[in-house]
């Protein structure tokens, strides 16, 4: 038996109906509240969660179908039953079309009402059970703070788990925003060094001299302003892991120094001559093509080979679009607590928009726009407008797509739009068969809208 409260909201303009139905359902042990009109019902939907809505069809001002439409947006998980005084096929069809669970003709048979409510509650319980199972399954999609169900990322997790157990140097490759530092942290936590420190250094953020001092520390008087001896990150990471981000941006001189540390496990502070032994696991990362940099002569090949012991490539988000819903859910869950906001999910339209967004900034970009949406949203369900993803300004061409797949995705989306969602017509224009088009629609997560009548 479920422990969660089953909350029922009755929306009817007739007081006697509200009263008698409330009394009847309260005796079943449900938590029941009522609203005399559509706007007060919407108000209640904005403030509290409801499992079942019993909504009268005919009400002055906002009718039952309008309440149902709003309820679907505000609390899509709530089950709505429309109550009507006259049974007409049109009523039933229009109610069911916009998401009503069923409809009851007033006055209803007591058994019919009891059975319907029991059925909804049982269905709710099954949904909750399903959610619990899904959560259990989701745990398998996690590698510490990283979330993915894509086969590509599962391979990354697998390799990272294996690499974590070793002492070898790891080179994490991937575009900006793919979560390279998160992966490095996860590897550290999964490694036998997890009780030691994890120290991250962004090699691109500092000048050569500052980076040198940051990494290796300096002796007092080593340079102007070095008023005291300072330990570098290699020392502070002793016994743990040092994460060298943007390693591809390191100057040739520092490349030599890093090579020496990696080979000898010793270094000298700037201005010092005493070698210091270090026991540090190095994880380096870059969004640059180090192979190309080696060929260009801007990156030392010997350092590259020292770093490239276990290379792990984190795929960009556009290559694992199936992760978008999972990541959105993950960010909503995490940020709900941080922002102190209760958000139930994302509307279907908004999710379709996210699925088709190119995400040049990868997971970081997704996280940021979800945060924006959570801050801007007025209801518990995030809508398209909340994400603030605007198309190119009128007259401005869209940014050129990065890959051939992206060109194909955009072209298919445009033709579908042009043909008003008519797949057969779009397939004819594209000169491919409908099955192929359906497969591509599925592959790219494109949303099919109802063809225009």
């Amino acid at each position: 038996m479920s422990t969660a409260s089953t909350r029922i909201l009755i929306v009817d303009d007739e007081e006697i109906v509200r009263e008698s139905l409330t009394g009847w359902l309260e005796k079943d042990g449900y938590t029941v509240a009522s609203a005399a009109d559509g706007p007060s019902a919407i108000e209640k939907l904005h403030h509290e969660p409801w499992a079942i809505l019993l909504v009268d069809m005919k009400m002055p001002g906002m009718d039952g179908l309008q309440v149902l439409e709003q309820a679907r947006k505000i609390q899509p998980q709530a089950t709505t039953v429309i109550m009507t005084a006259y049974a007409t096929v049109e009523t039933a069809v229009s109610a069911m079309k916009i998401g009503a669970y069923d409809y009851l003709v007033k006055p209803f048979d007591p058994e019919e009402l009891s059975l319907m409510i029991q059925k909804i509650v049982r269905q709710d319980e099954l949904l909750r059970e399903n959610e619990t199972l899904r959560r259990a399954l989701k745990r398998d999609y996690h590698f510490r703070d990283l979330v993915s169900k894509s086969a590509l990322m599962q391979n990354v997790f697998e390799l990272a788990r294996t690499a974590a157990r070793s002492q070898s140097t790891i080179l994490v490759l991937g575009e900006s925003g793919t979560g390279k530092e998160l992966l490095a942290r996860a590897i550290h936590i999964e490694s036998p060094r997890h009780s030691g420190p994890f120290v991250a250094v962004s090699c691109a953020a500092l000048t050569e001299t500052l980076l040198e001092s940051e990494l290796f520390g300096h002796e007092k008087g080593a340079f102007t302003g070095a008023a005291a001896r300072r330990r570098g990150t290699f020392e502070t990471a002793q016994g743990g892991t040092i994460f060298l981000d943007e390693i591809g941006d390191v100057s040739p001189k520092l490349q030599v120094d890093l090579l020496r540390v990696l080979e000898d496990r010793r270094f000298c502070r700037v201005g010092g001559s005493e070698p210091i032994a270090v026991d540090v696991r190095v994880i380096a990362a870059t969004n640059r093509d180090l192979n190309k940099a080696v060929l260009d002569g801007t990156f030392r090949d010997d350092l590259f080979y020292r770093l490239n012991v276990i290379p792990i490539t984190v795929p960009p988000l556009r290559d694992r679009r199936e992760d978008i819903p999972l990541l959105v859910e993950h960010f909503i869950e995490r940020m709900s607590a941080e922002l102190g906001r209760k958000v139930d999910g994302v509307s279907r339209d908004a999710m379709a928009m996210l699925m088709s967004h190119p995400f040049p900034g990868n997971v970081r970009e997704l996280r940021n726009i979800v945060e924006r949406a959570m801050v801007c949203a007025s209801g518990p369900v995030l809508q398209v407008i909340d994400f603030g993803l605007v198309g190119p300004a009128p007259g401005q061409p869209a940014a050129p797509p990065a890959s051939l797949e992206e060109v194909e995705r955009r072209h298919i989306a445009a033709i579908l739009e042009q043909s008003g969602g008519n797949v057969s017509q779009a397939a004819r224009i594209l000169d491919i068969d409908r099955v192929t088009l359906y497969n591509k629609i599925k592959k790219y997560g494109l949303r099919l809208r109802e063809p225009a009548v």
């Binding site: 479920s2 409260s5 006697i16 009394g23 005796k27 449900y30 209803f108 007591p110």
Partner: protein, 206 residues
């Protein structure tokens, strides 16, 4: 004899009134009274008032409003009674439902049960048994009990608790005449505390 609506009073006898249109069937009322007295361990005072509920008939539906019946019972109940149970032979309804077998004020004073759909013309014992079940059920609500899903009564008999929702005659016949152990415990606590005793986790539907 006006009294504030919905105020539960403990202790005091349960007033059992025949308020039907036909003549009272003494045997049936006696059976109901005995069952109620036994189930709630309270004195039951059987009476047949001269007055009949007024203003309860809905001419369009040709049924009587159970809500109006309850109002009438509350207004006319004897001062010393802790509860008043009306037994009637008219068909009862609440506005959203086609009919009800009975209705009660949750944690209140009044309850009403109708024989209109429960009577078995050729079987007075069955009629009495059905009415007794629904009488105990509705009075259970006045003692703060809500509908229950227990499938075994306090005698260990495999039958739904008398507080099970019974929207059909079939369901009335299928359930026990007695409370289940859980409802019994809640009733005992209600007698001590004088208020409902459901905690979040105990409520079968929460």
């Amino acid at each position: 004899m006006e009294r504030p609506d919905g105020q539960a009073r403990l202790p005091g006898p349960i007033a059992l009134w025949w308020i039907g249109e036909a003549a009272v069937d003494g045997d049936v009322v006696k059976t109901v009274a005995e069952r109620v007295a036994r189930e709630f361990a309270r004195e039951v005072a059987v009476q047949t008032p001269i007055e009949r509920p007024a203003g309860t008939l809905d001419a369009k539906r040709r049924q009587h409003s159970s809500r109006e019946m309850l109002k009438w019972l509350v207004a006319h109940a004897p001062a010393d009674a802790s509860r008043v149970l009306g037994l009637t032979d008219v068909d009862l309804f609440i506005p959203v439902l086609t009919f009800v077998f009975g209705e009660a004020q949750l944690e209140g004073v009044a309850a009403v049960v109708s024989a209109a759909r429960l009577a078995a013309p050729a079987d007075r014992r069955l009629t009495a048994a059905r009415l007794a079940r629904e009488a105990v059920h509705e009075l259970g609500h006045t003692f703060g009990l809500v509908h229950c899903d227990a499938l075994e009564d306090e005698d260990g008999r495999a039958a739904p608790c008398v507080m099970a929702r019974s929207p059909s005659v079939r369901a009335v016949d299928a359930k026990s005449a007695r409370l289940c152990p859980g409802c019994r415990a809640r009733y005992v606590t209600f007698q001590q505390d004088g208020s409902h005793v459901y905690r979040e986790h105990e409520n079968p539907h929460r």
